[in-house]
Amino acid sequence: MPAARVYFKDHINTDEIIPARYLTTFEEAELAKHAMEDLDPDFVRRVRPGDVLLAGADFGCGSSREHAVWALRGAGIAAVLAPSFARIFYRNAINGGFPVFEADGLEQVFAEGDEVQLDTEHGLLRRRAGGQVQFRPLPEFAKRIAQAGGLLEYFRDQARG
């Protein structure tokens, strides 16, 4: 079962998610090696594919680098939940078809390593040992992009009409 990777710090910025010194590639696997490195050198070692990242408010503030989304996805993170997201990161995530959900009260329910189940249909993150948090659904426009698999695919689908 996927686990919660918990960083309940507000304002985690894109320099912390992927430092600028690694922006020499856009290969997700390569970027993933350094995801969250300055904040937690053990992050990459601990994350298993499908894990869910839980963070504090204003997640992804700072630079416009889309690499922040790619690094997290490359590291195996299946979704990020936070009380709020910074504007450019949120837009980049939606464009990349990477699930990000706004949710309050995460800190009261989840701790690092908790086994969790992400139920996007009902907008719930469930804790195996009990407890759950409801997250806000994506805006309609974002949902359509996510369903297409990203903005590029969405535009392609539209062009096919």
Partner: protein, 414 residues
């Protein structure tokens, strides 16, 4: 018609219909700016789409983030951007021409009322001349270049009202830091900040103000055209907020109450009075960036450094924001003053601001920087500390070898 904010007015013009905060709209884009480090991702998306820029002369490539190239892979990425720009008739600003935001304004690409997208978060800088500038990621930028349009949610606006006048030794950077400190790092997320500065502040100072708006999460930072900008630019008649326009919040700042400010590690919104931080040893001072690398910033530093020497335990890196700034500083003698004081000069561009070259920090080092972000690991080691300050304060720190104010320095004799 319902009264509109400045952001609503600009976006209405570009949507071809009146729009208000909260509406999603498709807008025509006047210019798309791509920096070297994001160019490969942007070009990959274009290639993937089998699309080309719809209006090539409305797309700029600027080689500034790690220029001249620091290694082979960066060199290859820059060559890719260069070749693409030439082959497709896009604008290309080469190594050493300067920082994207400074260059686009110097070149006159940014004009009042325009809508400019940049692949760099500090694209809010264009608000200095009354343009709606905003940063986006590679996918958005590529699609905007291909379509000549993008989608936006019209932001709610937050109004900043200034009262009084700044005292001596206090400048636009101190005001900008105060504003971010008061708003908080996400105090203006998704919003447009509209600063009513009256006729105060030069274009460069307005760039400092608009530039830092993104550090409160803002989508755009607009300084209502006035003073020097109103004089030097053709400001369209419609480009002003209507009386009665709706603002999400209003922030009032009394300029007379401001003193020199610093952001302390590791967040821009952690703003303190410099006076309370005196004595912290400083290893490196960086004078430059899109926030404070202009001629007037070099002048402010030179005024402090004239007849003085940089402390032997401290390095002073000066990186002009553009080739024109460098030329002007050479011509008026500012450069000589800085060099005689012991400053080291770098190629116009972003310099060490985001820790990729020209002065990255070692573990345990302390840097006073005139740039815009002091995040953990931003300028190199995650164990280094970055303090953000004005050019005058940065110069004083370089001389003192520790955090200090210009007034703390011994008087220069002769």
């Amino acid at each position: 018609m319902r009264p509109q904010t400045l952001a609503e007015k600009i976006l209405s013009r570009h949507a071809g219909r009146p729009v208000w905060a909260g509406e999603l709209c498709v807008v025509e884009v006047d210019h798309v700016m791509v920096v070297d480090s994001i160019a490969p991702s942007v070009l990959e998306v274009l290639q993937d789409l089998r699309a080309e820029p719809r209006y090539p002369d409305r797309v700029s490539f600027v080689i500034d983030h790690a220029a001249p190239a620091v290694n082979e892979s960066v060199a290859a990425a820059q060559r890719q951007a260069r070749t693409y720009a030439r082959e497709h008739g896009c604008l290309l600003f080469e190594v050493g021409r300067g920082i994207c935001h400074q260059v686009l304004i110097e070149e006159g690409i940014v004009q009042p009322g325009k809508l400019i997208l940049g692949s760099d978060s500090h694209s809010t800088t264009y608000g200095a001349v009354g343009a709606f500038g905003t940063g986006m990621g590679a996918t958005d930028i590529a699609l905007a270049a291909a379509a000549g349009r993008t989608w936006l949610k019209v932001p709610a606006s937050l109004k900043v009202v200034l009262r009084g006048e700044l005292g001596p030794g206090v400048g636009a950077k101190d005001l900008a830091l105060e504003m971010i400190g008061r708003l908080g790092a996400d105090g203006a997320t998704y919003m447009s900040i509209e600063i009513d500065a009256g006729d105060r502040f030069s274009r460069g100072e307005r760039m400092t103000l608009a530039n830092l708006c993104v550090e409160a999460g803002a989508k755009a930072g607009l300084v209502l055209p006035g003073g020097e900008v109103a004089r030097d630019y053709a400001v369209p008649e419609w480009l002003r907020p209507d009386p009665g326009a709706q603002y999400r919040a209003t922030l009032e700042i009394d300029l007379a109450e401001l003193s020199p400010r610093m952001s302390v590690p590791h967040q821009v919104d952690q703003v303190r009075e410099v006076a309370g931080l005196r004595g912290r040893k400083v290893d490196q001072v960086f004078l430059g960036s899109c926030t404070n690398g202009r001629l007037e910033d070099l002048h402010a530093a030179a005024q402090v450094l004239r007849g003085r020497r940089v402390n032997p335990g401290t390095r002073l890196l000066v990186i002009p924001a553009s080739s024109l700034v460098l030329e002007a500083a050479a011509e008026d003698g500012t450069l000589l003053t800085l060099l005689q004081a012991g400053a080291v000069l770098g190629t116009p561009g972003c310099g060490p601001c985001m820790g990729r070259h020209q002065g990255v920090l070692a573990p345990g080092e302390v840097c006073v920087s005139t740039s815009n972000r002091n995040f953990l690991g931003r300028m190199g080691s995650a164990e280094a500390e970055i303090y953000l300050a004005s050019p005058a304060v940065a110069a004083a720190c370089a001389v003192a070898g520790q955090i200090a104010l210009p007034e703390d320095l011994e008087a220069v004799h002769g």
